[in-house]
């Protein structure tokens, strides 16, 4: 049973374009929603995270949009750059335990 569903599986974007990755969750008790970025040969690293008391969080070119009623959240990468090419994972957890449940990942390729 996939508790966090992520789409698309892969994405190709032109340099300067907007990359959008979507996630949906099932457990309404989740209260922490991070995105992780993974480069080849490396472990994932935290990119940006949001809690359900806000609908949007922006850090530089990266924005999370959160829709609590739809149980969905998405990552937007503005002005995508070739250096953004990586695998992106959404995740969800309960703050009480910090036990992270991940989505299936999106392989992003930004073409120059």
């Amino acid at each position: 049973q996939q508790q966090v569903k992520q789409s698309p599986q892969s994405l190709i974007v032109q340099k300067g374009g907007i990359s959008i990755i979507n996630c949906a969750y099932e457990n309404t008790a989740f209260d922490y929603f991070p995105w992780y970025q993974q480069f080849p040969g490396k472990g994932p690293a935290l990119l940006i995270a949001i809690r359900p008391d806000v609908s949007e969080k922006k850090e530089g070119r990266f924005t999370i949009s959160f829709n609590k009623s739809a149980k969905q959240f998405s990552l937007h990468i503005m002005d995508s750059q070739p250096g953004d090419s990586a695998t992106y994972f959404c995740a969800a957890s309960l703050s009480a335990t910090n036990k992270l449940i991940f989505g299936t990942g999106t392989l992003l390729a930004v073409q120059p």
Binding site: Q6, Q9, Y32, P34, Y36, G41, K42, G43, P44, A45, L46, A49, F89, S93, S95, T97, N98, K99, L100, I101, F102, G103, T104, G105
Partner: protein
């Protein structure tokens, strides 16, 4: 800097062998995790430990066990390795019951295990 260190980057084992994957963190984190990463399946939680000697099964615990005798060390054990356990294994750590708001999980670089 937080450091999560996995003992091996690459490992090749034979079917039926008992395999130990070791992970050490230096942040005094309560939580430690073992994930398995496979193409198209993302990061699947094998086991989660929220304290010394405490563990909780994840989504795919079959064929695996874990040991956490010290807070900084979390071991994943493949009791009898099989070819379908060929994968990338990632260890992570984070704050847990101490209630710290920084909930970031820090990952090791992974161990690519091949079972032949």
């Amino acid at each position: 800097d937080v450091k999560v260190t996995q003992s091996s980057r690459y490992l090749v084992k034979r079917t039926g062998e008992k395999v130990f994957l070791e992970c050490v963190q230096d942040m005094d984190h309560e939580n430690m995790f073992w994930y398995r990463q496979d193409p198209g399946l993302g990061l699947r939680l094998i086991y989660f430990s929220y304290d010394v000697k405490m563990k909780e099964k994840g989504d795919i615990p079959e064929g695996y066990s874990v040991s956490r005798e010290k807070k900084e060390r979390f071991s994943l054990i493949l009791e009898s390795a099989s070819t379908n356990q060929t994968s990338m294994y990632l260890c992570a750590s984070s704050w847990g019951y101490s209630g710290k708001r920084n909930t970031e999980a820090f990952f090791g670089q992974g161990t690519r295990l091949t079972v032949v």
